[in-house]
C-alpha cells in the first residue's frame, strides 16, 4: 500500500511543491491577478524542481 501511494503521489517534498504551486494559483486567481500567473506559475514550478533536485 505504501509503495502504491508513493507511486501515485511521490514523497512529502513532491507533494509540498505541488501544494505550494496550487496555492499560488488560487491566490492569484482569487486576488484578480490571474494575468500574472503566466509568468509566476512556471517560475514557481521550476523553483520547486530545483529544490527537489538539490535537496
Amino acid at each position: 500500500m505504501k509503495a502504491f501511494l508513493k507511486t501515485l503521489f511521490g514523497d512529502a517534498g513532491t507533494v509540498t511543491v505541488v501544494a505550494l504551486v496550487m496555492m499560488v494559483e488560487v491566490v492569484l486567481t482569487a486576488s484578480g491577478q490571474a494575468g500574472l500567473g503566466v509568468v509566476l506559475i512556471p517560475v514557481a514550478v521550476l523553483a520547486g524542481v530545483a529544490w527537489l533536485a538539490i535537496r
Binding site: 502504491f4 504551486v21 494559483e25 494575468g35 514550478v45 520547486g48 524542481v49 530545483a50 527537489l52 533536485a53
Partner: protein
C-alpha cells in the same frame, strides 16, 4: 485518426516504465520461471485494464471537464516535477544514473531464497506500479483533445517494442537512454500539468495564447531544466553508470 502530438509523448513515457517493469519480470523469471513471472505480469496488466474500464465509466458520467483537468493536472504535476527533478539531479551528477543492471541484480538478490510466492508478488507489484504510472499518463494525454486512442496506441506500441527488444536480448535493457527520455517526458508532463491546473483555477484568463502556451511552457521547462543542470553540476565519479 491518430493525434501525432500525443502518440510520441505517450510512447516515450510508457517505454521508460515498461523497461523498468520488464527488468523486474526478467529477474523474477530466472527464479520462478518465465511462465509464472509472465503470469504475474499478465495478472497486473489485467488489473490495469479493469482500472481503465472503471475510469472510462467514471468519465462517462459526464463530469465537468474543469474538474477532470484539475484532478489529472495535479497528478501530472506530481509526476512531472518528480521526473524532471530526478533527471536534473542525475544529469548534474548529484544522483547516480538509473542502472537497469543494478535493478536486475537487486531483484535477483531479493529472490535468492527461492520463494515462489514472493517472486510472483514482486513481478506482479513491479508491473502494476510501473503500469500505474503509464495508465495515469495515458489518461492525462488522452484527456487533451479526447485523444484516448492515440494515447493508448502510443503506450501499447511501447509495450510491444520493449517486449520484442527484451525477448531478443534476454537481458536487462541497459542501453536505453533512460535519463534523457525521463528529462523530455518530465518537461512535457510538467508543461501539461502546469497548464491544466492553472486553467482549472483561472479559466480562460489563465493562458491567453491557448494551446500555444503549452509549447512555450515546454520550452521554458526544457531550457530551465538544462540551465539548472549546468548550474548545479558536479563532476561524476569515475566508473559511474552512463
Amino acid at each position: 485518426m491518430l493525434d501525432w502530438s500525443v502518440v510520441p509523448a505517450a510512447f516515450l513515457t510508457a517505454a521508460v516504465e515498461w523497461v523498468e517493469a520488464f527488468t523486474i519480470v526478467l529477474a523474477v523469471s530466472l527464479s520462478i520461471g518465465w511462465r509464472a513471472a509472465g503470469g504475474a505480469a499478465v495478472a497486473a496488466l489485467a488489473v490495469l485494464a479493469l482500472m481503465t474500464i472503471a475510469a472510462g465509466g467514471v468519465l462517462g458520467l459526464g463530469l465537468e471537464v474543469r474538474w477532470l483537468q484539475l484532478a489529472i493536472g495535479v497528478f501530472l504535476l506530481l509526476f512531472g516535477v518528480r521526473w524532471l527533478a530526478k533527471a536534473v539531479a542525475r544529469g548534474a551528477g548529484l544522483k547516480a544514473l538509473h542502472d537497469e543492471a543494478e535493478t536486475f541484480a537487486e531483484t535477483q538478490a531479493e529472490l535468492s531464497r527461492g520463494d515462489f510466492a514472493a517472486g510472483w508478488l514482486i513481478a506482479f507489484k513491479g508491473v502494476l506500479l510501473e503500469g500505474l504510472e503509464v495508465w495515469l499518463i495515458v489518461a492525462a494525454f488522452g484527456l487533451h483533445g479526447r485523444a484516448w486512442i492515440s494515447s493508448g496506441a502510443g503506450a501499447l506500441a511501447a509495450l510491444v517494442v520493449v517486449l520484442a527488444a527484451g525477448l531478443v536480448v534476454r537481458a536487462p535493457l541497459t542501453r536505453v537512454p533512460e535519463n534523457a527520455i525521463k528529462f523530455v517526458v518530465g518537461v512535457m508532463i510538467t508543461a501539461f500539468g502546469t497548464y491544466w491546473t492553472y486553467e482549472s483555477a483561472a479559466g480562460e484568463r489563465a493562458w491567453p495564447l491557448g494551446d500555444l502556451s503549452l509549447l512555450a511552457l515546454a520550452a521554458f521547462f526544457a531550457l530551465g531544466g538544462l540551465g539548472l543542470m549546468a548550474l548545479i553540476r558536479r563532476p561524476r565519479p569515475a566508473g559511474a553508470a552512463t
